[in-house]
Assembly symmetry: C2
């Protein structure tokens, strides 16, 4: 289920290190997010931010700095504030990041969604959090709850993409290996293998069927590709050829 | 379904920047991963790595550098190599990161699992990839496929935790807001609200029931907590008190 109805904006509130703005931009570009806003950045220098925004040129070029949070999220219908939930009494229990998709589905959210990240040291203020429709917590370990800013953006961007929340922005999902060998090819190589095993005396008359069944199961479990099967078939064919050659030589 | 049978090790192969080793350590600590190995690091200085390993002391203190990949993964039963799949002809189609959990389940993997990340610039070599049981691809955008090393580790660590692959290491999942108001509390505040609305003349005799039904629906949809309901009840009670006071004053 996709939410192409939501346009996502990443908002960094009072980021202190320009390199982190660039790192956030790169993580965004990695997952097809485009809109980045910095609220009252400590050092509003985009030159440094560009350094760490490898491959994220369009994101950083179109990024904006605004003076207040309201300037950044005034047009948003869904404002989400990230928090470790460690330092302060929160007025709400945060959603765990994997719960975001079902929450948005229940809420039938549309329009602009803003995802807020606080300053590196202090996170979002209580005032910032009060402007959020929901708080969001990356389910980190209690021993080391606080994430690096760029890494937190990366994890959230990944989750948005994974959960299908980025609509058309989502990169096409790669399918599982699609050149899995078909059954006919497997059967063919299995038949040749059985002949070979007969030829080398591996298969004893007693228990022959049970052994073949076990081998067939093994062959299926390997999840071979067409290419694997061609290679395996080639090996077996070569062994058979050699065995026949030896046989012919003996018979001479 | 948990895989406490797998012990995870993060392996950085020929990392060039010590700050990235520290960043990887921090991301690991965030999700309860403990074992970090660097293969032939370009600049094997742990001092710099410690700088960026905020809160990840135990991970970085127990980290090791080894000369070859085999030294790092010789004891592993499952070796996974991360790749963007962009630069070279791969011999296998990589698993997309969210496919990892089902793949491990099918494989009934046990023992030591090693997750490999290549050098910042060049990724894992074909020789490295040849040592892997499966290749793993973070599903990044085609426009900007290559991730920052620390961010890639963070995303993978999050996915391992999210998918329940870290066994007992997984931090306890936070539940959704559990102090949702019960129906009795909602009914109570609804009744008082209806009284108040009657008192202020909001409810016209015609359509009264339809309006109340709509309001009741709204109240349910808000997903109020017990605390919200107490506040709301307090507001309504206060309004009622004021209305009654005014009424008494008029009657005097």
């Amino acid at each position: 289920m996709r939410h192409s109805n939501l346009d996502w904006r990443i908002v960094l509130v009072r980021p202190r290190n320009p390199l982190n703005i660039g790192a956030a931009a790169r993580a965004m570009a990695n997952f097809g997010l485009r809109e980045l806003v910095a609220v009252d950045p400590f050092a509003p220098t985009w030159r440094e931010a560009r350094e760490s925004a490898v491959g994220a040129g369009p994101v950083i070029e179109s990024a904006r700095a605004v003076p207040t949070l309201l300037d950044a999220v005034g047009d948003a219908t869904t404002v989400l504030g990230t928090t470790t939930g460690e330092r302060r009494q929160l007025d709400r229990v945060p959603l765990s990041l994997p719960q975001l998709a079902p929450w948005l589905r229940r809420r039938k959210a549309r329009g602009r969604a803003a995802l807020l990240f606080g300053s590196e040291k202090t996170g979002l203020s209580n005032e910032d959090l009060g402007r959020c429709h929901a708080l969001l917590r990356i389910p980190t370990s209690a021993d080391c709850p606080s994430m690096n800013l760029g890494q937190a953006v990366a994890v959230c961007a990944y989750e948005l993409a994974r959960a299908g929340l980025l609509g058309v922005q989502t990169p096409p999902a790669r399918s599982a290996p699609s050149d899995a060998a078909d059954l006919e090819a497997l059967e063919h190589v299995f038949e040749r293998t059985a002949q070979m095993l007969d030829a080398v005396g591996y298969l004893k008359p007693k228990g022959r069927n049970a052994t073949l069944l076990k081998l067939r199961r093994l062959l299926m479990d390997l999840e071979l590709t067409s290419s694997d099967v061609r290679i395996l078939g080639g090996v077996v064919a070569q062994v058979q050829w050699k065995l026949e050659q030896n046989l012919q030589r003996e018979q001479k």
